[in-house]
Symmetry: C2
Subunit: 122 residues, 2 copies
């Protein structure tokens, strides 16, 4: 698939709340995921498809998701971007907040090899 085809597929699946199907089918085994804040192990990066999917599963488990929407895709040469909006409550603290972030995806060989997230900064 081309960059645009993978981008459209990822957005279509996220609009159906099938984010995990998107990761299972579109992520390369050695994918690298980069977050704007360090995780529990102090690293900004998560390496490998299984670990990246587990990170998302942990996040989904830790939050109540009231609303989720996706905008895009915006397509470049070998990368594309998607804008995510979440209205969530962190279950442990009870803190409710709106999260808006840009996900930037890098492609190689028809699969996603890197995802990186940028968040609104105040």
């Amino acid at each position: 698939m081309t960059t645009a085809e993978v981008a459209n597929r990822l957005v279509a699946l996220c609009k159906e709340f099938k984010n995990f199907e998107a990761m299972e089918t579109l992520y390369e085994p050695d994918i690298v995921s980069v977050e704007p804040f360090p995780g529990p192990d102090g690293s900004f990066e998560t390496n490998g498809k299984a670990a990246v999917i587990q990170k998302s599963a942990n996040w989904a488990q830790a939050h109540e998701i009231h609303a989720a929407s996706v905008e895009g895709p915006y397509v470049g040469v070998d990368k594309f971007s998607v804008i995510f909006n979440f209205e969530i409550t962190h279950k442990a603290s009870g803190n409710r907040k709106h999260v808006r972030e840009v996900g930037i995806y890098t492609m190689d060989g028809g699969l996603i090899t890197r995802e990186e997230f940028h968040v609104a900064h105040f």
Copy 2:
């Protein structure tokens, strides 16, 4: 300046329509600019601050800009993203259109070393 400081500075200047001041003051001499479509020379990339600024000047010269707005920034570790909206008319063809794109900026040593643009793809 940190990634967030440069990101906020770039957005503040763009909101004042001082895009060229942003490029002059925040871009590294060897900056690389990547467009989603090839330029007149067939390349997606433009290399060097002078050439990148000239590319923007050519674009501004070729279009009548009816409206421009910027959203963000969205900040990552060593990169940040900005969303641009333009309502423009291509002077030569008379074609008027709305352009929405994501700009992704890479930082090194307090300056921007790479910019890459992703566009809505239909």
